[in-house]
Amino acid sequence: MAQRDFVDAFNDCVQRIAAGESLDACLRRYPQYAQRLRPMLQTAFSLRLLRPSAAEVRQEQELIWQQLEQRLPAATKTRPLGARRRLLPLIAALIALLVLLTATWFVLTRPDLPPDELPVELRTATPLLTNTPTATLTPSPVPSDTPTATLTPSPVPSDTPTYTVTPSATATETATYTAIPTETHTPAVTPTATDSPSPAPTATVTPLPPPPTATFAPGCGAPLSVEDAIVRVLEIYPNTTIIEVRQRERFNMQVWEVRTSHDIRVYIDVACGTILLIEDHNDEDGDEDQTAEVTETPPNDPPDDDSGGGNHGDDGDSDDDDDDDSDDDGNSSHDDDDDDS
């Protein structure tokens, strides 16, 4: 207890002397410890004398200041706080802009975006006819200048032929399918998801730009989809097989050219669903296709007379050479004038 009091007396005197009280004055507060406190306090405060000479301090002070001015010339030119505060909004805006640009770039360059919308569009077609071909649409990731689709009959009962339509087109090209309104369609083709490839013969569906949105004719309700075109042909030729369907320009309009296993080609107006022309390429003489002019009109709207009328002999397609898909058949040298009428 006495030692504790002595320690407290020592610390108290240290504080008082540091605050300006004299050593003797503090010792008078603790007369019982004065004899022990005095040498301790003198020893402790004598440490103040342990310091370099004043001359050394002055020399070093000036020398170090010169070093500081050389090492940090801008240290004495610190930017005022107000200037920094004024820059804060600008810095924040730049950061926000950078973040926005980065996000935009990331979204635009995402490789995992859907390659095309074609399968989605075609799958949304509402099946109505049960005993009609079933089509499975499988997008092909292979880019192609000429978007094509493969129509593959599946090995199912003969009454219900199943087709696998495998379009291969770029995302841009297949985007033309998305413009096809499907809510008004009643396709007989039942889209089903088929993973197993069909070993059956393969037909090619060749939809071509321009986009069907441009094929809306005045008064026509909706453009004809590929399924609708197939259905219409199968209604006329129920015992045939669709070999190829492609969209092309004829008669100054977009048409579906549906080719059957009997080498019959049916041209249907995409805009209104009008069957414009039926060509029979099974003609024995082979030099002139049997062409049937069809005046059928869809129930909702009459066809465009400018393209639907007349005998549209199209001998340019008689060679079945589909390699020239990119070259519009309507512009081939041996197409008749009806193409341009």
Partner: protein, 188 residues
């Protein structure tokens, strides 16, 4: 009668704000105010004068850089400077760096006659104190140098040494008693 005053300078925040805004005179004023205690503290821990110069320059360089970056010490400038100096000494020479063992002549104040404390202090006694101080533990040396040699307050010393105020009180008593004991042994 001996009157000893321990300075306990409160940070001049106005001066600090002026220095932060680029006021050259304020910067120089801060430097002049705190150079001597920092240099003495460093010099007491290092044997070499040039080393002490480099360390002290680094301490103030850090201070001016902090001003430039808008992060000056907010609370206690003196304690901040001492803390930086202490860390730099430890970084460069390790925590076991003992007191300098330079000759007494380098440490004898040139103006001893004007100093009232020295009237009761003989030159040979100063040398004895220095030697005795070197025999103490690191903590004891440091608390004596900071509290009595540089006049830091209890709180400043506690902050600097990462100890409580009561711990510093106990430590400074034990250190003083130990110093007295060593001096007594040397005197016998």
């Amino acid at each position: 009668m001996i009157i000893l005053i321990l300075p306990d300078t409160t940070p001049d925040m106005t001066l600090l704000e002026r220095a932060q805004q680029g006021d050259r005179e304020a910067q120089r004023a801060i430097y002049n105010r705190y150079f001597e205690p920092i240099y003495q503290f460093v010099r007491l821990r290092l044997e070499d004068r040039e080393q002490a110069r480099d360390i002290t320059a680094d301490v103030f360089l850090d201070f001016f850089v902090s001003l430039r970056r808008g992060r000056p010490p907010r609370k206690n400038l003196r304690a901040w400077l001492f803390r930086v100096a202490r860390h730099k000494i430890y970084d460069h020479y390790g925590a076991r760096q003992r007191l300098a063992t330079t000759s007494l002549e380098e440490w004898m104040p040139s103006d001893m006659a004007d100093n009232p404390e020295t009237q009761a202090m003989q030159a040979h006694r100063l040398e004895r104190v220095r030697r005795a101080l070197q025999q103490l533990s690191e903590d004891q040396q440091e608390v004596l140098v900071l509290r009595f040699g540089q006049g830091l307050s209890l709180q400043e010393t506690a902050d600097l040494m990462d100890k409580s105020v009561s711990a510093v009180k106990s430590l400074q008593f034990r250190a003083t008693a130990a110093l007295r004991r060593v001096l007594g042994e040397e005197g016998t």
